[in-house]
Chain length 273, copies 6
């Protein structure tokens, strides 16, 4: 169960409205790597975690924090939209190219649908959706997805940091950047911990090594003519799992037969001779 306080985790006050920037900021709310994604991802991972204790508790700590990040961003967007020219006509814009450019750069739905507020969508107006969530029950697989999310999230935040000069916006982003730094470190540390605790090792899942074809578990198939791919760490030497030796297959040939399919049942009316 959850509780809420009206106060924001960190301040979200722009010095001035900027409706064009409010449009871009949607990416951090409802984008594939935005705050709704990490909120829902960590919540479902926490609920799906089958070990009581530190991993589950930590997942719920951070999930609960992320929900507050959605709140900060939604508040910022509403404030950036204060007094936005949502009711200006094209004719008015024609006399004022600057206003025309602003109108062209606004998110129409923030006005028409949201009444001057944020929507659960990305910066192209595409709605957030549940396929952005992964909660597989395997903590190593999921923590790797979490490092990714915080990496893409900090990257996008850094990009957006340069698209504004507003000290109030930058103030909030400096907090967000710091949290993303923390969260990258946190998930990397959690991955180390999984190994230290002996519950997960390098390759997900830590099973089926006797079943899989070992001769195909360490070869790089050279299928594109760029000839530098053999120079990397991934083409020779011991693999990160300590159990395989990388090798480079410079002229790979297919191992299977032709990709042909049998005739379908008659009443499906497929074309056959």
């Amino acid at each position: 169960m959850f509780y809420h306080t009206k106060r924001l985790q960190f301040e979200a006050k722009p010095e001035q409205p900027d409706p064009v920037y409010a449009h871009k900021l949607q990416e951090l709310i409802g984008g594939a790597w935005g705050e709704m994604t990490v909120t829902m991802r960590y919540l479902f991972q926490g609920w799906n975690c089958r070990m009581e204790g530190k991993y589950k508790d930590m997942l719920m700590d951070i999930a609960t924090e992320e929900m507050g990040h959605v709140e900060m961003l939604a508040t910022m967007v509403a404030r950036l939209l204060e007094g936005a020219p949502s009711d200006k006509t094209t004719a008015a814009a024609e006399n004022d190219p600057v206003m025309g450019a602003i109108i062209g750069g606004m998110d129409p739905q923030q006005a028409i649908v949201g009444g001057g507020g944020a929507t659960p969508s990305d910066s192209n107006g595409y709605p957030w959706n549940g396929r952005y969530v992964i909660a597989s029950g395997n903590l190593l697989a999921d923590f790797r997805s979490n490092v990714t999310a915080e990496s893409q999230g900090r990257l996008q935040t850094a990009r957006l940091y340069h698209m504004t000069d507003d000290p109030g916006v930058k103030n909030m982003l400096k907090f967000n950047l710091a949290r993303d730094t923390m969260h990258q470190n946190q998930w990397l540390a959690a991955i180390e911990e999984l190994k230290a605790d002996g519950v997960e090792d390098t390759v997900v899942p830590n099973e089926l090594f006797d079943e899989e074809y070992r001769e195909h578990a360490s070869t790089l198939w050279h299928l594109s003519d760029g000839d530098s791919s053999q120079e990397g760490r991934w083409a020779s030497g011991t693999a990160p799992d300590g159990d395989h030796e990388f090798s480079f297959v410079s002229n790979p040939e297919p191992l299977g037969g032709p990709a042909s399919a049998p005739k379908p049942p008659e009443h499906l009316y497929g074309t056959t001779w």
Copy 2:
């Protein structure tokens, strides 16, 4: 530019048809972590790679391989559907509960839309879509997403491995499992290489550390009452980036003011006093 050979990278021949399994196997074709995702993800990352040389060449090698994995799976699905009871009526199923169960477990679109073939959808019939692709131009951020994809991919393949007894299907999956092992190792090695080459470090992006609020870059906010989260590697000690000391905020208070929004422009008809 691409070339194609009719032969499969590895054989994809079931011993017997199994339309219920054909349904489940769709997850590996068009699911969020399926072969279409890695194909398109590595292709867009390769095209978006701004350094000539080993990273870009390796991306194109593996992208090209993955496309062949979609082909293997689509071929397998068509073969598993051979002679499927796509034209059996409910009445017939009522006399034969086994057939009824089979019909209930089939993907209706594999028959009605695909004519006995695979579709670019997941095991719930949801179509693959482009938001599963990330190609940010930052190789560390993207390689982390690739480790994730191969981890979730091998995990799902391992789960599916136990849902069949067919030696032909298992034969193919043993190859797929091995390739996923290789690819996890490969991306982990590539991440090491990025650091060894000095082009990327731990926290993505490797910038804005002076701008972000350092005091918030290493604290775990304890926002859920599970009290074990402080026991982990992520709550004290040096962070993986070697630059921060983790700490635990046991009774965190919000730092911002209330989440209130200003009045919208009059003509948006928001409710205000």
Copy 3:
């Protein structure tokens, strides 16, 4: 079965083209609360209505009208796009900031895909989809959704009314506003009628009151620290259904145990100790 006349229900003639406004008007065609939604919603509700007579007949009357509203808006969009600078280059726009602003504010797909016509999408280019439709078979539940649709619809129309000065566009919107007024009143009246006819009462569905836990059917859980929520009509006194007394739980405690999940089957490779 349907018949069609070429004439519009109401005139849809702008005085002048305005491609930027044509972009915004898409919200009323293919948005979540646009005319496609009410058309399909009322059609499916009408077909799903299990009582012959006035409710079903009324549903089909209004569904049939709404289809004509899609037609009016699509016609208006095509006329607003007459002569739109769909073939102007960025270079040309650079010499003419006004044109640049116009191009920036246009919907690219109205030109590239629609050839200068409307598309079945909203103002952010997101396609209309069937999840906007509800036809539950319970008329009270569905009529409540219809009041909502006409409320959001008139609200969006009112917002758009102020984004244009064109007398022809305003002429059409004055009709649309009036119809939305009628339709709000109509669904509110239909809800009254359901009660007057004794087929539906306040709480949907009018069942399971003996089964549900009555002690939890009238309490407001105070889970956010804003302390004014107890001042409303919803926190004390008799509820609208005449059967419950509202009360305010000022310090709510969870009633259940911890949110923990059992171990999954072994072959799903979840992480457990």
Copy 4:
């Protein structure tokens, strides 16, 4: 900002696993009218509320509660999936039609993707998405949408109540039904309060009545040949807003000219004579 306690708002313990029911229960988690919808809808409405005080505080109270409902349902699903035959083959099912039926009725992604847990999707596996959220800033329009959501939600819960005999599941649903009763009453009371406070009246938005064409604001157009639609409360008498007299147009004629569009710009290659 939010806080979380590990304890559930109400208990969510089935007596026995039931993977087929776990599939159906997804509708209440990630369906259009499920708990994720009300959580996100009330959160965005609360953040978008432009009046400090009782309305905003109440929105945040209930939004925070709904998040706990998602938690209860996700926990229930994981428990219903305990020991599910996720690793049973089709061949095994052929010898055991009951197991075959169970496998046919399961959600494949709960096993393959979720590792035996809930996913943020509906009962057909379609992911929850942000277009289910409305937060227009107009409280009357939004509260009407909330009555709808709680009505559809209780209706779906009631339907699901009869699809199980498990006392533990029914125990939780008895709580959910009660909360939906409360929330329907709550939003209905809030609508009364908006009127009592004089901030909103019957027709949303309470504006543009002088602009709209009054002669079209109270007529029912009889466009389908079911002849009972004139018998309802909506076809004569005073409308709920107290300001219009309903009337019935028995043989409506279109008021506009033909739905014709002008020629598009030449370079769009439309077909014209």
Copy 5:
């Protein structure tokens, strides 16, 4: 503007309920090639048609008919669901494998969401969406898409024809098959007519032939090692447009330089040396 009659274009009465078949029939309602697609496609094409006269009038005739097909199918689905075991528990199904199979083969949303009625979704529960609509304004391009739609539509109907023995269902499908035959012929005839009228020729659009590189307008690039592709009508001889001679490029080489991209702006933090 539209009118509606309560009577169906053709009868839609099953002899007996069949909820499993009701599930499959969703494909013809809300699938990519179902009746909602042709309804909306022809409507938008009709509204987007820039020539008054026979083409536009014919488009509106057939669009209006298709809407009646959605009605027939929705009615059929509701009747097929009469008495469906929507309230049967898994436990009950365990004692009755036939019922178990039926429950496994049902669409959960037809009961939980639709209350025993059709939904605007396909047979995998994916909602119909506006990207299935094309109305480009170029009649040849669009009529070709219409031949396709009626071809895929009749193919799917034919497949479904064999999945039932119910005389009432088959009776309706015999009408649908006939209409699809008519509509394929109709669009093929309309394509002939466009040419006979001299408004469109073979290649869409009939322009830019002097601009395009003629040497690349008739060659088949042999990029896959199946060596029979040169045997077809498409590899030699005169092309259908009467203006090109097909040829076969047996060992095609790329004509462009490497697929390399320039460095992005610094503040996007792309990885570069």
Copy 6:
């Protein structure tokens, strides 16, 4: 299995960056009729083709080529974005209306998500998805869809050809236009060949003519009052299949009874008297 060469099929070098055009060009990458669609459509059709030989081989030739077209366009987009003002603030734009217009016309995700590269989305930012793919197993049905795709594709390319003056962009588009000409001719020739080979005839599928109601297989129902629809080739004379005589039903009456549905099971709580 596939191979890749680093060289592009054709050169893709703009003379100058043009980020506004890079936005529009997304339609040809990830739009419903873009290169991702033809790639995946031809691949799935090739894998689903149940006849070895020329048709299957040709499908794989052209599928493999199309993948190279995605590559050309993605490369072009990255180059058009070189130096794009992705890090310019709204304030800067206010001093420079031209830059304001450019920013307004850019795709925000190409910068924030793609780091200055293409995304797998259309020109409104909507992601490509698998429902754009059709591979029915019936070659005539599918080849008709392919003529359509190449027609819509060339039409959109032609429209985009006029939206740029850049000689480098135009150079690439001249190649694309030529290939679309070839591919339209190719699929038309393949349709002729199917008939010449006697494997498919005019109406898809070539079956069930004795079952369908012949009296409804050639009539045009006049359901819209435009009175020119009887003048076309489709209203009289012999149909393209050589087997039917078109006729015109000038005053069509419905053939079925009323569209009424039976009562649903009690526990679905539908509204009934």
